[in-house]
């Protein structure tokens, strides 16, 4: 990795939010919120600057402590990491702005949750650290940071149901972390290195590696709430405060997905088989169908949105079967790889924007009504046209109607599915969209329906609605620079690449 330019940027991207979080502990509530909003712009501009630098010079590294791997740790920001860091920054700024007014508006009834700001910035540092990390054990430390902050934020409201859901979230996340750590120990024991690039070179197929891959993948699947392990997500995400739900759904679960993508495409190529990809694809398809169906049955707005997260995260997993070549296929001539990668990245971005917007809108509805029963959304269009519009736009992106980011993601996924000949994923993708349309239109129908007898909506600060609407619009705007973004991402080592395990690694029986 010596050939890449070094810069202080990667260290600052972790250090600055960490510094802001620590500093905020010394302020009282008002100062914390002010520091939080200003700080979010600082970290955001740093992320923007990093993005520009990466576009100019390609991958940038920072060798921590001056010790090169394998002894030391290396931070690297390549185009893939830059996109995730940029996404976190944009969503983070909007959520910070929203939180500033949200906690002010709620002061009379509940309180101002002074712990939100330090925890959110610690979480931000953890997320940036995860995206920058190039080391198996360091990745573990960053997911630990993320888990603790995410759980603490989830229970912040102090309500009994939030604490109950938070405890379950904590246990699931810890089991996931332990499984991951076990796999890391096995890999370190058998290769003597933790650096992802070195591991990609020295890892040879074998039982230990296959087992390590299985436990690591299992751990990450639990953390990203993949199908059989999704049980913790809906209660935890729906019981949290609105800005927290948005953070958890839009950003935190993406961390585990990012790790899985990195590890599968850059490290574990030699241990993967076609069947492994199919298995992950099946859990993804099951999550899409189950999550969407459950969302359709909900009678509470926030629970509906949370179940929809389970489904939308399922789409991300359906990218993996396309990345792994079937026996006899060749990654160099596989023209479906670019669509599959595009689908994955755009699904991450479109879902982050749309889901953040929906949870923020849910917060507005709760603030106006005092509860979040879907029935009470009646006449929303007349009372709060902006929020109704935000829900509609974000919902359209979730369904995948053109010209939204969600459309681009799902269209590319379908394209990849048909080009690769793995047509059997198509029904799940289409059925998922149909079910999504079902619950989104259910919300919109109520929003347009006239109210018969109804409590009036309490006034909600306009600026909150603007934040939610802008995020919803963001899920459409990301389509405009799509072509440039894909070009930018092609500078990443793994982007657009496939996995040819058996043939390249020599295989289990060939040697």
């Amino acid at each position: 990795m010596k050939e890449f330019p070094t810069s202080a940027l990667p260290a600052l991207l972790v250090g600055l939010p960490m510094l802001l979080a620590t500093m905020s502990l010394f302020f009282r509530v008002k100062g914390r919120a002010l520091l939080g909003v200003l700080g979010s712009f600082l970290v955001g501009s740093l992320a923007f600057f990093a993005f520009i630098e990466v576009a100019k010079y390609g991958t940038i590294i920072h060798i921590l402590g001056g010790w090169e791997p394998p002894l030391g740790i290396l931070l690297r920001i390549d185009p893939l990491a830059a996109v995730f860091i940029g996404l976190t920054a944009i969503i983070g700024i909007f959520i910070s702005l929203y939180s500033w007014w949200y906690f002010r508006a709620r002061i009379a009834s509940i309180g101002r949750f002074p712990l939100f700001w330090p925890l959110w910035f610690f979480l931000w540092a953890g997320l940036n650290g995860l995206f920058l990390s190039n080391d198996l054990f360091n990745l573990y430390v960053t997911i630990e940071v993320i888990t603790i902050c995410a759980v603490a934020l989830a229970v912040l409201s102090g309500e009994a149901k939030a604490l109950k859901a938070g405890l379950r979230y904590l246990l699931a996340a810890i089991i996931g972390s332990m499984a991951y750590l076990f796999g890391v120990a096995l890999i370190y024991g058998s290769t003597g290195t933790l650096d992802l690039n070195l591991l990609g070179e020295v890892l040879k197929p074998g039982n230990t590696k296959t087992f390590a891959l299985i436990v690591i993948t299992l751990g990450l699947l639990i953390k990203k709430a993949a199908f059989p392990f999704h049980f913790w997500l809906p209660p935890a995400h729906s019981a949290a405060l609105a800005p927290v739900s948005a953070l958890l759904s839009a950003l935190v679960v993406k961390g585990a997905f990012y790790m899985m993508l990195r590890l599968w495409t850059e490290v574990f190529e030699v241990s993967l088989t076609f069947a492994a990809g199919q298995l992950i694809g099946i859990t993804g398809a099951a999550a899409v169908l189950w999550g969407s169906w459950q969302a359709l049955l909900q009678t509470n707005f926030k629970l509906l949105v949370a179940h929809s997260s389970v489904a939308q995260m399922g789409y991300l997993l359906m990218m993996f079967p396309l990345l792994i070549m079937a026996p006899g296929q060749d990654a160099d001539s596989a023209e479906w790889l670019a669509p599959a990668w595009t689908a994955g990245i755009f699904q991450v971005m479109a879902h982050a924007f749309a889901k953040a917007s929906l949870f923020l809108s849910a917060g507005i509805v709760v603030m106006a009504l005092g509860h979040d029963r879907i029935e009470s959304l009646r006449d929303l269009v007349a009372w709060m046209p902006m929020t109704a519009m935000a829900i509609g736009i974000a919902g359209v992106s979730l369904i995948g109607l053109p010209p939204s980011g969600g459309f681009l993601a799902k269209w590319m996924l379908l394209k990849g599915v048909f080009l690769s000949g793995q047509w059997w994923w198509a029904p799940a993708i289409l059925a998922g969209s149909l079910l999504t349309a079902g619950y989104v239109f259910m919300l919109l129908r109520l929003a347009f329906a006239p109210a018969r007898v109804k409590d009036p909506f309490r006034p909600v600060p306009k600026i909150l609605q603007v934040c939610a609407l802008l995020l919803a619009l963001g899920s459409f705007l990301i389509v405009i620079p799509a072509e440039n973004l894909i070009q930018f991402l092609e500078g990443s080592k793994s982007f657009g690449s496939g996995i040819e395990s058996i043939m390249k690694g020599g295989g289990y029986g060939n040697e």
Partner: protein, 317 residues
């Protein structure tokens, strides 16, 4: 002889783990957990990982045990209060039977055994030795310390340790966040007036302080270091609290904030300074490495000890 000791240790550890899980009473489970932690610490010593053994004995067994004992007392208070009400309602509502099937238990058990077998097989295939021990030791002269574990923690992988010190602070914040709701009002902790207890605590305080300081300084050359020292210093705070000197609540707010954050903060500012002077994040100038590491460790130990005391003070408030 060795194999005898090791197998005895292994059997005892597993036996105690089972006893802990199957204990009919919570109090018994907590005490067996103490014994289990000590066995685990001994096992770490037998494996040659003395650093881990000290941490296991001090944090996992010691500090966790104290917290468990404390919650045990709360439980007993809550239960003795609610006992009558509970019994009253229990007689009215028919007890719901657990939907516990032996088939699921069997499937789970078989799955666990299979997982264990595959794990053992996978661990068996891991080659002996290797790792980064050789190059970690080769770079020791440059690192400013003489113990490879300390060099890894405070120099080669200082970034990880910095994040971990942050994790402890975040854990403290998480406990504050979860404590927003008090399900049960606990009766206030009457300060212990037992003169014997107070005298004993006063005798222990300097001993613990000295031993902690020794572990901290000795970390440069052998097993020990910030985390181990911090638990001993944290124990001072907890003991003083138990004796009725509520040290942590007496200290002014500002001071408390500084105590809790100084470890993370100093480490971070040091990193930024190193970057400002042209180095990398956490790149020590070799001449000052030993001294800087000792300062970082001392401040980290103070912060962790303060965090542990704060957790105890907050939970027993």
């Amino acid at each position: 002889m060795d194999i005898l000791i090791d197998s005895l240790l292994a059997i005892l550890t597993i036996y105690l783990a089972f006893r802990c899980m199957l204990a009919p009473k919570l109090s018994k489970a907590v005490f067996v957990f103490f014994a289990f932690g000590l066995m685990l610490a001994l096992a770490w010593i037998r494996l040659g990982a003395v650093d881990v053994a000290i941490a296991e004995a001090a944090i996992a067994s010691g500090f966790m045990g104290v917290l468990m004992l404390d919650s045990l007392r709360d439980f007993s208070l809550i239960f003795s209060k609610n006992q009558e009400r509970l019994e009253e309602t229990a007689s009215k509502i028919p007890i719901k039977k657990d939907s516990y099937h032996w088939t699921t238990a069997l499937a789970l058990g078989l799955g666990l055994i299979l997982f264990l077998l595959i794990s053992i097989q996978a661990i068996w295939e891991v080659p002996q030795g290797g790792g980064l021990t050789a190059i970690a030791e080769a770079n020791l002269p440059m690192s400013g310390v003489e113990h490879p574990v300390t060099a890894v923690l405070l120099n080669y992988r200082a970034y990880d340790t910095w994040l971990e010190i942050g994790v402890i602070l975040m854990g403290l914040l998480a406990i504050f966040a979860a404590g927003g709701l008090k399900q049960y009002r606990k009766p206030g902790l009457a300060p212990a007036q037992d003169p014997l207890l107070r005298k004993t605590i006063l005798i222990f305080t300097p001993v613990l302080f000295l031993f902690g300081a020794f572990l901290l300084y000795f970390g440069k050359m052998g097993p020990g270091g910030a985390f181990q020292a911090a638990v001993l210093w944290g124990a001072i705070g907890i003991l003083l609290h138990l004796g009725g000197w509520t040290v942590f609540t007496v200290i002014p707010r500002r001071m408390r904030q500084i105590l809790v954050t100084i470890g993370l903060g100093f480490f971070m500012i040091l990193g930024f300074t190193q970057m400002a002077t042209g180095g990398a994040f956490f790149e020590y100038p070799p001449a000052y490495a030993g001294f800087l590491i000792l300062v970082v460790e001392t401040l980290a130990a103070i912060s962790i000890a303060a965090a542990l005391t704060a957790i105890f003070a907050f939970l027993t408030k």
